[in-house]
Symmetry: C2
Subunit: 451 residues, 2 copies
């Protein structure tokens, strides 16, 4: 039996799927931070190109992928759909486990799916440089890659704890021509303000976002780019699920469970939205499960409220499950899953029970990652390891309950730049951490009261 | 036009190609180090399983790949054949450039093709542990991977300069359950002897081989394994070229030039031997070009003589282009291409002009690697960068001479664990080095005089 399903390049999807077209409930609009009124495009124009602002609010189901973007995708797409036969055998499960291998992209994750698209639209509107933030470095390296191929400059504010833990992610960005700064930095007012209060601050995505936005706003030739959370970013990732759907069809399968980890939510959106389309339109049912770390459990433990996307309160208010925009997660190794909030579309789906979320601790997550590496052979990113842990738990449940479920997950990235975390785990030195309630309560006090 | 050709898993080759069956010239036999007479299997039996010794001398054209090995190959094989359209465009060349992407294996190189096979045959003969050496770490991680999947233990002696430059290659081996020691180590007589003379010795493959063999010989449950050089190792790699041949056929192409880098010679053998079969049997012509570093130029500057494979003079004498078995290369970053000798089969082909060799300096090699990373997107291993440099030179020649040549090369590995070398290059700090003649002359004095 073949363990891989390759989609011919000529059958690569030509349009992204916009789930907003199929939502049975109105998506709560972004609000102006001062007036608390729904914002218009003019508020976002200084930081995003108009094409992306239009995609952000579009209600059109299919958005055509520009040819130039498809040409770059062709460097690594379509990605393989693989069946994890060795893991199934090791677990003795009747479940059939499929994964979409997004780790084969040059930056090693799903992130370039949107990075290339965003770089393209910025270029088309005459932008010369893009500033962004990055946590674990996956997004920063993806944007460095995307901007390089589109001929733009790139500035990356990298959360300091990752900057220190992952020097080679930084090298990768440099190799692709980007400038990288540890955040909080001395280069922005937002950064300086944080450093004044805490010179040893490990940084957070919220801080890095503030720095990148400030940088972009100050330069008329620059714009800002976000690697997750926003609607258009999630939409660019749907090529993952659209390809997977075609590949599953090629072998006559359809998932009972579709799952991935959530940091900002884009990779989970990418794999699941094309299947949720069938669920929302009443064609087929599927269980969509998102996985987050107990150290940063926005969806499983945060309230569903309007909050800022960044620490400096410069973004519009977004309705989401939030731990509070002043929340700074502990220095956990699963660096990419450290955002205080979550993509509003993921949150809406979770709030309406079209999607569920689970949170895990780090050590069991790494235990499953090792089980994966010692059966399937490849080394997953710590973020992806969260997904694998859920898959292992579900496959074991299938064994207990004697159910032949079909599980599909997004292998969102490889762990080649995360070996320090594996070293720590193997040495028994990986700290574990579940966020105490009082920390959530404290950060939530700064969330604005809306309506 | 599709940039990728995927071979269906069901069409994966079921046998390796043994070029010995088609050689028009007798291959010079390995000689006993003391008597200088051709050795029999009994001399190799303490360190290799009998199945591999038989493959080493076999004259049979096709050797069946065991099902259990095919099952493991299926974790990542067949590997994609890709066309480097973006690079062609950047160079404005009429050449068509194809590459076989061996970097997609879990250890990130072509090495597991033989590691898995060797682990299998050792297991079948009751071996419990395999000891080996590794240079840059690609081979060590591949054998760690292969032994783990076959349920064997693994001990790796890693050349010290790489052990220090590449801590995460070591992590990878540890994650897959192997024990890793910096070589020269205090664990063997061979290692202690070198350390007594030079406590700061950066190590060499020749030293590490001596250590691994000594370790294996001392333990009746252990055998030794070599990641390149020997006939059976080269043969296991032919699955690369056999797949590539099928893939080229699928799109109606045949290479004018087939090329790869040579350290011990196995990856070049893997991509080229199935095409050289056509040349040796008079069916088709192809130009086979091997690439080595000027810092370790065995084929381009060494004499074709019988020499030892290791520094402690424990191996049989092999007829090869050699820099002398006491040669210790400078601490160049292209860590994997540091062997004093070369696979006897590659040497024989070069001596008879069925293959040619070129040597390059490191900095132009990295320049081409960067050109690759900034067009094709992916980051090649420094070893692979040597190949890419030749491909770029040939493609430019095609442009000057207006020739539409078809170039096929082996993208033997990714550079995710070699970012320190890229950092050094980007900082302008990558030392360059062409081996001085007096160093060759000095090391050659220790080569035994045979016949």
């Amino acid at each position: 039996m073949d363990q891989v399903v390759n989609l011919p390049q000529g059958q690569m999807p030509q349009a992204w799927y916009n789930i907003q077209a199929d939502l049975p409930w109105p998506a709560p609009p972004p609000l102006h931070p001062a007036t608390h009124q729904p914002i218009g495009p003019e508020l976002l124009a200084p930081i995003f190109p108009m094409a992306l602002i239009q995609q952000e609010v579009s209600q059109v189901r299919w958005i055509e992928i520009p040819q130039e973007v498809l040409d770059v995708y062709a460097l690594w797409r379509p990605t393989p759909l693989r069946r994890a036969v060795a893991l199934e055998k090791e677990l003795g499960t009747p479940a059939r486990i499929y994964y979409k291998d997004e780790s084969v992209s040059p930056p090693g994750s799903h992130k370039p799916n949107t990075a290339v698209a965003q770089a393209y639209y910025n270029k088309m509107e005459g932008v010369e440089r893009i500033a962004t933030e990055t946590g674990a470095g996956q997004w920063g390296s993806a944007l460095a890659f995307g901007t390089m191929l589109m001929g733009l400059k790139c500035t990356v504010y990298m959360v300091k704890v990752s900057y220190e833990q992952k020097p080679f992610r930084k090298s990768l960005m440099g190799l692709w021509g980007a400038e990288v700064h540890a955040s909080p930095s001395n280069l922005t007012e937002a950064g300086r303000k944080v450093l004044a209060q805490d010179p040893d601050c490990p940084g957070s995505l919220g801080i890095a976002i503030s720095e990148a936005i400030e940088d972009a706003v100050k330069d008329e030739h620059a714009k800002y780019s976000l690697g997750s959370v926003l609607n258009h970013v999630l939409m660019h990732q749907t090529i993952i699920g659209l390809e997977a759907k075609k590949q599953m069809e090629m072998i006559g399968e359809y998932p009972d469970i579709v799952t991935s980890c959530i940091g900002g939510g884009s990779n989970m959106a990418g794999i699941s939205f094309p299947f949720l389309m069938d669920k929302l339109t009443g064609k087929k049912d599927v269980q969509a499960v998102a996985v987050e770390p107990e150290a940063c459990p926005s969806v499983t433990r945060g309230p569903y409220r309007y909050d800022f996307g960044d620490i400096a309160e410069t973004t519009p208010l977004l309705k989401m499950f939030t731990l509070g925009h002043t929340f700074i997660p502990a220095k956990i190794h699963a660096g990419g899953l450290r955002y205080h909030g979550m993509a509003p579309l993921i949150c809406l789906l979770c709030d309406r029970n079209a999607m569920t979320a689970k949170a895990y601790r780090q050590n069991p997550v790494f235990e499953s990652a090792l089980l994966w590496a010692r059966t399937q052979g490849s080394v997953p990113a710590p973020e992806t390891a969260h997904t694998i842990h859920l898959v292992v738990e579900e496959a074991r449940r299938c064994k207990r309950e004697r159910k032949e479920k079909v599980i599909l997950f997004n292998y969102s990235g490889h762990g080649h730049f995360d070996m320090a975390a594996y070293d720590a785990y193997l040495a028994g030195k990986l700290e574990d951490y579940s966020l105490p309630q009082e920390e959530i309560d404290k950060a939530l006090k700064t969330v604005p009261v809306v309506g």
